[in-house]
Amino acid sequence: MTDETVSFHPAYLRGEAALAQPAPITTSGPVAWVRTRLRSGWLSGILSLLFILLLVWVIPDLFRFFFLDAVWSAPDGSACRAPGTGACWAFIERKIDFFRYGSYPSEAHWRVDLVLIIGAVLAARLLWPAGRKGMAGLLAFLLGVPLLMFLLIPGPAAVMREPATELTIFAIGVGLAALLEATALSTGLVSLLFFAVYPIFVVTLLHGSVTLGLSIIDTNLWGGIFVSLLVATIGIVVSLPAGVLLALGRRSRLPFVRLFSVVFIEFVRGVPLITVLFMANTMLPLFVPEQLTPDRLLRPLIGVAVFASAYMAEEIRGGLQAISKGQYEGAMALGLGYGKMMRLVVLPQALTLVIPGIVNIFIGLFKDTTLVAIVGVFDFLRTVDTARVDPAWSGPTISATGYAFAALFYFVFCFGMSRYSLMMERRLSAGRRH
């Protein structure tokens, strides 16, 4: 029997065993890494060499400019004007309050700090995926964000100036985080806190309230980092749900809903953000009664949210289209209505698919917040730009220092978002890995 099988062996099957290969060269360790990655061929060897040369050429100069020759503290710009000096970090240190708060009165800075800390705590609780075992990570995040915001960026001097308030606010943040953890609130409750209670808290505290004895601080005084964060947060928080609704609306069978969604998306996507901002700034006041004239800060907020929603809608629609018809039919066969079908079956899959795209929009949005400066809002980049003009500090290296600082700030936030999304992607797609 066996012999017969051998004799009827098809020609495309190998009859004899393959020859043994020599043992592979080590593929781990630094030597192997250099061999396989840097000079696996003559072309890659030359490229490696060129890139190393580029680094050798660029890095020492940058290092000298930003660290060795830098002026770390000085009472005014004269020390930074001396020939041969590098970055003027003293300028950043001096202007840091302006960068952080704009023209917000200094005696009320604690309000901004409190709003940021509480926002960070709630957001961290929402964003951190695992409830109980995330405790350590959560605390690390909570300690990390405020430390970054209040210690590293402003330099230790700013904290030393008002140690009591800064520490109190920091303690409130940690206390709140501990409380959230201890009471083990469900995510639903935390999002209710974040989306419903927190905004009211933010507006009351930042803008002030006569009945509570908080002086009114008009939005024309708001500025700096906290306004950038505010614009970005509003854009992100509004655009995701609005984008989902618009994407569903565009696929809806109701003609008016679909028409509205299509017109909205195509119109907003068809014009540049600058145009949307100008329109929000100059047209919005014309279309509402005199008494309701929207605040100058509110107008770009609306503009940014509208703009981001349109892009978000198209991104999510892409996700919706990737879901096979079977999923819809299966959901319907189970007797789910439209709302439940979308909420329980379709959207969770669609949104997971488009996480990279959504985060891409968020990152773009975060950087686009700098455009609100053209309608007169003092966002972070605008404060840097304005501080640069100050005759007491102006000098040859001031602009470079200011913009390097701004670049660092935006990089930290955008890179953070990008890493976070990668982590979420890995977690959410865990079930579909083969």
């Binding site: 005199e290 007169g376 003009v389």
Partner: protein
Amino acid sequence: MKRFVATLVATAALGALAFPALAQSGSKTLEQVKQKGFLTCGTNTGLAGFGLPDDKGNWTGLDVDLCRGVAAAIFGDPSKVKFIPLSAKDRFTALQSGEIDVLSRNGTWTQSREAELGLLWAGVNYYDGQGFMVRKKLNIASALELSGASICVQQGTTTELNMADFFRTNSMKYEGVAFADINEAVKAYDSGRCDAYTTDASGLYASRLKLVNPDEHVVLPEIISKEPLGPAVRQGDDQWFNLVRWTHFAMINAEELGVTKANVDEQLKSTNPEVKRFLGVEGDFGKGLGLSKAWAYQIVKAVGNYGEVFDRNVGANSSLKIKRGLNNLWSKGGIQYAPPVR
């Protein structure tokens, strides 16, 4: 077709709703300001010496102090101003739409802006004009000696045209080196690419601070163009126009009369009839402006006289160190002149 008509009607209705808001251009600005409790003032988003937030975010500058002066005249309190930083693009719209009460944003007073935009300039609080900056070691004392020089300039501005005109009228040769960005032009001049750098004189002083060795450079005395900068208001409210104009005049008159922020209380006892009238000790000259009779006293008490404001923001006591020049009083060789209070 029916749907189209319906849309048209809806649009028209929206437009009708919208336009009353547009047409409202406040014929009683002073009353509105008093009712609001503060003045709304359009400023530059950041120009050294004219309108710039300091380390604490407080607005400072020559243009800013004019607004503070108006607020002081109305409320006796220079802090009752809301500053709205405006870009060059939407500064006039903001004034026309009634969003701001006065535009004090180093705007150049020109014929077309008054005639076509429906605005009025209340005065000139800074006579600017295009000038040249050169290295001291060139030993040049006048722009007329610049023949054959290479000059750094910002591209596509009136500055470039003015320079061409100036050299042609004086039949001199020059080599223009144009840059799209003003900072690039300054850098090129600093690195020795050009012999001279040209822009508006106030800008020259600000740019000089960005140079590696500001003391090695000098601004030449010639001014080759007219750039009268001042506060603007909407047309159609003469009372408000008068108020802003006389705030500026009050500051000039105060300097002429020797009334300063420091001695204004002492001056109340002055025997000089002009000072008495000015400070409201005698007669009531604020009434016609809709103000109290101590209006000028309040202005000087809050921001000082024109000379003090100038020195503090752009002149000798600031880091810009701009010379008074044309902005000196008419009695001291300049052209700042104010009609008397009587």
